[in-house]
Amino acid sequence: MNDSILVIGGGIGGMTAAIEAAECGRQVYLVEREPWLGGRVARMNKYFPKLCPPYCGLEINFRRIRANPNIRFFTSSQVVSISGKPGDFVAVIKTDPRYVNQKCVACDDCVKVCPVSRPDRFNYGMSQTGAIYLPHQMAMPARHVIDMDVCEGSSCGECVKVCKYDAIELDMEDSETTVEAGSVVYATGWKPYDASKIANLGYGKIDNVISNVEMERLAAVNGPTSGGITRRDNGEPVRTVAFVQCAGSRDENHLPYCSSICCLASLKQARYVRDQYPDSEVYIFYIDLRAPGKYESFYNKVKADPNIHLVKGKVGRIDPGEGGAAIVTAEDILGGGKMRVSCDLVVLATGMEPTAKSCDVPMASVDGEGFIAQNNQSAPGVIPAGVAAGPFDVTTSIQSATGAALKAIQAAATR
């Protein structure tokens, strides 16, 4: 009988579940695949509807984690197996080498001498980093990491030479940790739906067609353009921007469900554009605009801007236009007739695909879409949190994670 809790996934949901349970006195193991905590939220520019930066809340959570001896977190790590039963789970955690030890102070001297470059996954490949890099400015833990897939290793060793703190160990090896837990929280989150699968929307073929997660990075001060929302082909300012709703969501050929956040994300991103460019024109093409509950007032605020045009009609095609423009075509159902808009930038409001759809989730009960269901019969003691359970916004994910923490405590205590 063990009342510890294993939380898989170190995004906002996993961190919340871990902190809530730890603050109730439980031992928590928090496992994150990336070399940093914060997940998708760390890559957001602003939250809707208040348009405040997510880093505010993330910092508070990082502080709660650091302050709490009950939380042991593993980055660059994955749970490779879980055995046992509720109250007596045994999990094996595999940790990839970071090649940088705890002496690192994130001074960045190593990066300046690194001869290699690689696409920065944090910025969805829109910028480059060295083989050794700090995951992002506010990374937790604030330590560099080496991507051994591209690093030239000891044959180069430039970073080792310049590191004043002896922090780099090119021969570091992976390690395994076995932990015991009474219950498991899956907070494996989501990934953006691969927009290149929607062939008629030109993503990957037309430079100025991007996805909404990329738009978050473009607008972020710590992003690839230092916050400048610019054309992807030539870096020029944008004037006309279109948002394409349900790019892959509510579509039986792609994701059959409503991802629930994309409407508000686009309304929010429309504000990014309008705040940066007073002369800009923004079009949002939708099937239905969904702003549930109190988000209605945010929707009304955005709608009141005469330069933001809400057009009912799903975009059926995006074609390359003159001078790198992207031409968006939809049937303007309320206005009548087909509508073509030549845009500097087109943002596909791609939906959320659960991570559990494409990775192993031992002991969990997964539904047809890849979301993890809470099932006391087939998967007792295994509780989903956040977007692992369904397509939620951040607030709902946090509520879901808090509830999951209580369920996990119960499950570990009552077996």
Binding site: D251, I287, D288, K314, K338
Partner: protein, 394 residues
Amino acid sequence: MTDKVESPDVIEPDMAFVRRIMENGGHTLKKCFQCGNCSVVCEISPDNVPFPRKEMVWAQWGLKDKLLANADIWICHGCGDCTAHCPCGAKPADVLAAVRNISFSKYAGVEAMGRMLSSPSYLPVLFLVPAILITAMIFFASKPGFMSANPIVFSNMAPVHAIDMVFVPAVLFAAVSAMLGIKKFWTAIAKGSPGGARISSGLGKAAAVTALGILKHEKLGKCVTNAPRFLSHLMTMYGFLALTATTSLVAVMYWINKLAIAEVATTPLLLLHPVKILGNLGALAAVTGVTLIVARRYGGSGEKTDGTGYYDSHFIFILYGTILTGILSELFRLADVAAVAFWTYYVHLVLVFTLLAYAPFSKFAHMIYRFVAMMYANSVDRAKERIDDKTVRL
């Protein structure tokens, strides 16, 4: 929008019509959530008054008169691009095909015939009529002992003048019915098609443009999802035209001889006679085309874009049967197996009658209605069309 209070628009849904669409292959229509994706992915949908999104809402609301008096139902070639991209499985291509099927009986020049072609329960009667007529024709007109005469000559069983006595009235019946149907249809679409654009160019020119477009298969050529349909339909159509030309030429040649205008070859023609070559090439093209169609529609390739209803199957199999029995008649004749050859030829005659006499009421009539609708669309200035109809704007 004006501020003054307008009189409310009263929509009177015809639920029986909705059910009829669903029974005729459009059972998915209620899944449509009106996103308009279909109107955009369609390569031939016009800009100002696009389809098929408006047809989908009319179908859901049971607005029968609007749907049936709408040329766009026929501008659609059922290529299925809309269905392939439809996010909710509403299959607009199938729904429009179902509405076209209903149109066959709605515009039938002879209403009773329209009803008889709409359901398989009348099939025995439809076959019995030509079977009796042709049996009677053989009984009265065949040469005695035609079965044992050598070589096999089909006109010994069915002399050309006797065939003409059965088939000329049948074709006339079809032609008159078709004219009546066209008149009804033209009146309806000229009055009822949305957009309100007036006919702006000469009908002769519009007809020529339409005919040229059909010969080139311009519209089917734009189809992406169902691209193979271009070739199968092209081969079927040209094969059929060649066979029709062959039959007509043979009749003409017969009367040239009969009336002693000149002396030309008589049937059976030698295999190298130009008319025979035309006929055999036509048969080859047609049988290949229809075989491709049958393979795609019934071959279980899992095509999500090909809804096949009774009208489709009826037409495809009558046509396939006609072509196959025609080819087999020739082969059995050449193989000198008299009984089989004559019986096959008998079946062939029955099927030809079925194909031609009932053409205006079966899917064969897609040729007529689509031509008229395309001619209408080519004669109006679609760029001036505007939707004033509130039912299409939701």
